[in-house]
Symmetry: C2
């Protein structure tokens, strides 16, 4: 039951020789969710040994080129590889117009169907749900309509103790009920209380993705207590004015959000290409929120199971 | 006086973890010409330490996505870096429509001007000329209008012998004339024959870029005797039928063209993603044309000066 983030690209609008354009992949129980898709994303997916066929859902924060230009090549490659499963794209309605025109011209014989889910970046609402998780929009503050995404594992069931299974014959029909908290009735009619035969469930895990955005305190309530927060930190604090003017954040601001939201761990990224050395951004963030790490392309961040 | 090719991407339509989409850069006397621009080209330019500001001319063979999707990000980055020089793009007229619509939507405040040069892929003609070289189209045989490009250095001047310059006072006004072949008249009126004081000029160098194309003998006359030929070799010989059906070439066919055109060296590339090991393609080509090399991303091929 894995819950793991892979960072495919950590640069802002101009890529560098070491940092690709924005894209993340979140693996929740072997479902792979692609979040943003800057140029080069398909190559980064390959380099990081993620199987194309596992990606069925793409979430797009906003329609700036550095977050979507990789869609053209990804869609082309999916089609060349004869994908037949539907591809679900969650984005501002305008993306459907852009991609539809693009596909009409370049991909006349698309091998699969794209299902567009129009999102309203101004609202905080659940836009995706399956048996394992929900995805909510997080309204952000940027030059164009933009939202982050909160991925939240659904409540997990109680775990049946090994020793109980070894010592009793448990009908399959009973297993689900025990996991849900019911007591066990033996063949002879004895009742064994649930808390004697199970352990409490593992905690729900969560990941919040917040880019691109100016410092915006309204997100704090939504991302409160998430295990892992990615928050953009395009600039160091000496460029706070530029961050404000361009609707981006400094690493100090990202850390302030992390602290106020009491998150478990903060990843900063979306760095301006001007920074060859990110020590200043890292130190400024850590001074406010100690458990901060600098995003690196290809790095994986696993949230372990805990009770 | 460098003449050097850098291969940025050597895969066909589907990139792999090691092979990027098609793009080459030719450096002729420190003028950098970009040839095709698949997704990821701007990152490959950076990784290979080629300065964006040196690129003023882009040549596009045809309008399939794997040869042009990198233009979107490259243009965006040029603008974000406040480029002000004109960018010249040589391509089928339709590219102007595509890019114009794209720029209207995504790059409202483009910092520079794009000058479109519409080419006719069906004709062999000079489409670019400056003091150092000419570029000609090479009509190819593909599913859509497509042409290669022949880069040919202009005739170089004779070289004045060191010993002559060391022993005579040569007015600057005379230097150019001597290089052009004139004799030298000393102050005392003596004539020194040109061939005593100069060496023959270095040979003109040339590079022909031929992708995407089926086996097409009509190109042989155009590329006769080029120093360096890049010819696509999407498949091994056992997939000759598929090559024909998709208007691509096998490595045997690429080598046959190289042999018949008596080129100096052949680079094969544009490999199908199915090949993890290219030994078969390499061996099949070498059996026909010995001086064949397999394209590798980031590799440079220099054509040295010879007399």
């Amino acid at each position: 039951m894995i819950f793991e983030l892979t960072i495919l690209g950590s640069s802002s609008a101009v890529p560098t020789s070491k940092r690709n354009l924005t894209a993340h992949v979140l693996n929740v129980h072997e479902r792979f969710f692609l979040i943003d898709c800057g140029e080069g994303t398909q190559m980064q997916i390959r380099r990081n040994k993620i199987r194309f066929g596992k990606i069925n859902h793409i979430f797009i924060s906003h329609l700036h080129g550095d977050h979507i230009f990789g869609l053209f090549g990804l869609i082309s490659t999916f089609s060349l590889l004869n994908r037949d499963k539907n591809l679900h794209i969650y984005a501002h309605a305008e993306l459907e117009n852009i991609l539809t025109k693009h596909i009409e011209y370049f991909e006349r014989n698309l091998s699969f169907k794209i299902v567009y889910h129009h999102i309203n970046p101004k609202r905080n609402e659940v836009i995706f749900e399956d048996s394992k998780l929900t995805v909510e929009t997080i309204p952000l503050k940027h030059r164009v309509p933009c939202c982050g995404f909160l991925f939240k594992e659904k409540p997990l069931l109680r775990n049946i103790k090994k020793v109980f299974v070894e010592n009793h014959i448990v009908p399959i029909s009973q297993i689900q009920k025990i996991k849900e908290g019911e007591d066990f009735i033996t063949e002879s009619g004895d009742r064994i209380p649930n808390n004697e035969i199970t352990l409490p469930p593992f905690k729900q895990r969560s990941y919040a993705y917040c880019t691109d955005t100016a410092y915006y305190e309204k997100i704090i309530a939504i991302i409160q207590n998430v295990d892992l927060l990615f928050h953009e930190a395009t600039y160091a604090s000496n460029l706070k004015k530029m961050a404000k003017d361009t609707f981006h954040s400094t690493s100090e601001q990202a850390a302030t959000i992390a602290k106020k939201a009491s998150v478990g761990k903060l990843i900063i990224g979306h760095f301006s290409a001007r920074y060859k050395d990110l020590t200043a951004l890292e130190n400024e963030a850590k001074a406010i929120f100690e458990n901060t790490v600098v995003a690196e392309d290809g790095e994986r961040h696993t949230i372990p199971l805990t009770r």
